[in-house]
Symmetry: C2
Subunit: 153 residues, 2 copies
Amino acid sequence: MISKKTKYALKALGYLAEHSTGDPILISELAKEENIPRKFLEAILVSLRKGGVLKSKIGKGGGYMLALPAAQITIGRVVGILEGGFALVECLNDNVKVACEECGDPACCGIRLVMSEVKSAIDSVLESTTLADMVERSESARQHKSKIMDYSI
Amino acid sequence: MISKKTKYALKALGYLAEHSTGDPILISELAKEENIPRKFLEAILVSLRKGGVLKSKIGKGGGYMLALPAAQITIGRVVGILEGGFALVECLNDNVKVACEECGDPACCGIRLVMSEVKSAIDSVLESTTLADMVERSESARQHKSKIMDYSI
DNA sequence: ACATAAGCCTACTTGATCTATAGACATAGG
DNA sequence: CCTATGTCTATAGATCAAGTAGGCTTATGT
């Protein structure tokens, strides 16, 4: 289950991707428009900045902007920043080479072997989907729906 | 990330699948052999029994047995029993038709659309892998390794 | 230079959930 | 009836997610 943090992050990034005009967007605007607790959002945005997907401008007239085109930001990257990797068992997280306490031999641990496959499956989706895809898909779902509404009137 | 509960469950089930002779196996044996806290394991086994993958015999000479052949128990089923469904967002859990508080319109929520794809990817692995597969894969990894050891001696 | 509008940082609170443990109870076998 | 075994209920402790508070730093415009 992804955390609220990650959900908020994706919502905020979606908003930035949709409303970006080159000028920075205020935290308070993001918080209000996407219904995210202001202070909580601050922390999330800092993580995203440190993770390289956002850049900020301090001081009057400041705010947040995407650091990259939305089409170059994968959902996997965002999830990775906020969930700290996205493996299903510790011993599959990037950078972690130690075995879980339980499985004596990581190479032979059945659980690890299976979960490694699951992780690949997840990653292949998450790494191939970008913020731009997400926004576009949401938009087209919305249009599709309003079209149906039209017919029914 | 899967919980320890789920890991313990898979380990216990793996042991049962490997050592099943028709006679029930004691909780204490499972706990000892797989290094699982005895009382914690008890609770896990009860869940698995209620979930239909184990059956128990009470009283002297009692213990636990698989309720089905290992080849008919999917890892997805086990994970589902212990994690209570395995969606990445609430609104994708089976039986749950309500929207997450955040996404006003579930049909148009980009996050939901993406996570729904991820869930499909996870499920396709988890539902197509059985306990028997897991045990067999672990076993063959172990043999492969010992073979390499042989050569190196 | 100063006032103001931003983001930045550190610390804390609260509540939930995961992990683990204890002890009394129920059931079957001999 | 005694003993071995699983079952149930309750609870304690640790960890973590979610949210809150307040002060600090940096930039802009006058």
